[in-house]
């Protein structure tokens, strides 16, 4: 994967990070709703150097039938990285890591989607990572939520996600690949901005209780920035430039 460069300065004396960002500055984010004709809903996100495409199908018949639930619809998520998404070819078969991320994204979306109106059906979310550069699970979750809204699946709220972390003993927003490899902590956060609820929180690294609180705060603030962009993407597709 690279990135472990002993001479690299993660945070210089002016508070500028290795890719020129400030501590509380996210990477460039571009979200586009729609784009896939054959999917019921879709979204494309560029999150720094991450490029992710999401397609949503459903509600539709469940196959295999035994997975269906007579009380509610079910949500199925597949997170998949393309072989060319990373430096060295990735085996396209689902890895341990991809299975885990599929599961956490599914569980992060479940509080938002209201599938009890569609018993015996399934909503399928397919996430394809075309290019990965750290923080793909957050970017994928953000895009998946836009794609679900585009498909017209009833949702209590959008889910926005971004990672907070710690490098050089400083709490930062939006951890990139280098900071993830060499940094001290990485904390992906998924957040529903209107309901003010956290749906995803993982932590890899060591933080003091104070740092932990600060990380959550920084992450939640970051999610609000991401949410504004999600909103903009959907407004652009459905209401033209006018908005409201």
């Amino acid at each position: 994967m690279g990135g472990r460069d002993a001479t690299m300065v993660l945070l210089d004396e002016n508070g500028i990070r290795c890719d020129g960002r400030k501590v509380d500055e996210p990477r460039r984010i571009m979200i586009k709703a729609g784009g896939l004709k054959n999917a019921d809903g879709s979204a494309y996100i560029e999150f720094g150097d991450n490029k992710i495409l999401v397609g949503v199908f459903g509600p539709r018949d469940v196959h295999p039938k035994h997975m269906s639930n007579t009380d509610t619809g079910i949500l199925r998520v597949r997170y998949h990285m393309e072989p060319f998404s990373v430096g060295e070819r990735k085996n396209p078969a689902p890895s341990r890591r991809e299975i885990e991320i599929s599961k956490v994204i599914k569980e992060a979306l479940e509080p938002a989607v209201m599938l009890d109106k569609f018993p015996r059906t399934a909503v399928d979310v397919f996430i394809e990572v075309l290019q990965a550069d750290g923080g793909t699970r957050c970017a994928a979750l953000t895009a998946a939520s836009v794609a679900l809204a585009d498909a017209g699946i009833p949702m209590r709220d959008m889910v926005a996600a971004i990672a907070a972390g710690k490098v050089a003993d400083t709490v930062i927003l939006d951890v990139n690949n280098e900071e993830d490899q060499a940094g001290q902590a990485d904390m992906p956060i998924g957040y529903m901005p209107n309901l003010e609820k956290i749906t995803l929180l993982q932590l890899d690294g060591v933080l003091t209780p104070d740092e932990y609180k600060k990380c959550v705060q920084v992450g939640v603030d970051g999610c609000k920035i991401v949410y504004d962009l999600q909103k903009k993407a959907l407004q652009e597709k459905y209401f033209g430039d006018g908005g409201d």
Binding site: M114, P119, A149, G152, M155, P193, N194, D244
Partner: protein
């Protein structure tokens, strides 16, 4: 646009206060939150959001266009462009003296046939039951099928059927609109058919445009003169 109507996305607070939540909104504390992308409308005591996207959800008494997928010896299954298949029992077609031995379902409806049907019964425990035993229902013998987004069906019908009447008058076409987004157009003259199809597709694409009726009218008339 007056202040009662607003573009919303999931999670947006439509309003707060003592309103009754209707379609596509939920009550969370004292806030009324939209659950879909659409246009919110606030009435005297209730709030609803008209969706701009989403699949067709069957409703009792809806007229739908269905396509026969298959049949057993007792019933047909119809594709009604929804997440559920329409269930059409043989008794509905053959009458109460239907006998699984004597009557062959394929003589009446084959797979691939289009039917105009009405949703007779639907609840969350089973697939929608449809019926074709009513006036104007039954097998559709001729016409072209156009698929539009189910969320744009109300726009195609227009206020009290204004839009669809206008298209029918201008083209002499007979148009059957299924609430599930499938539309059958039949017309004696090929030009009328083409024009009607074009008009329907125009509504599908430009459903959010304000004075769409005028635009469609203009299109219909301009072609008529040439």
């Amino acid at each position: 646009m007056d202040n009662k109507r607003k573009y919303v996305i999931p999670g947006d607070v439509v309003t707060t206060g003592p309103f009754r939540p209707e379609q596509n909104v939920i009550l969370e504390g004292n806030k009324i939150i939209s659950t879909t992308i659409g246009i919110s409308e606030i009435y005297d005591d209730s709030v609803k959001v008209i969706p701009l996207t989403g699949k067709y959800i069957p409703k009792i008494n809806d007229l739908v266009i269905g396509k026969v997928i298959s049949h057993t010896s007792l019933s047909w299954e119809l594709d009604i462009n929804s997440c559920y298949v329409g269930f059409l029992p043989a008794q509905d077609v053959f009458g109460r003296d239907f006998s699984a031995h004597a009557d062959e379902l394929a003589t009446k409806l084959k797979s691939g046939d289009l039917v105009a049907a009405r949703i007779a019964n639907f609840d969350r425990t089973r697939d929608p039951l449809v019926t074709i035993s009513d006036r104007d229902l039954g097998k559709i013998d001729s016409g072209d099928l156009i698929k539009i987004s189910p969320s744009k069906v109300p726009r195609l019908i227009g206020k009290r059927g204004a839009m669809i009447q206008m298209i029918e008058m201008a083209t002499d076409a007979a148009i059957t609109i299924g609430q599930n987004g499938w539309v059958v157009v039949s017309c004696e003259s090929p030009e009328g058919l083409l024009k009607a199809k074009k008009a329907i597709e125009m509504v599908n694409e430009k459903a959010h445009v304000a004075n769409l009726t005028d635009q469609v009218k203009e299109m219909l008339e301009s072609k008529g003169e040439s």
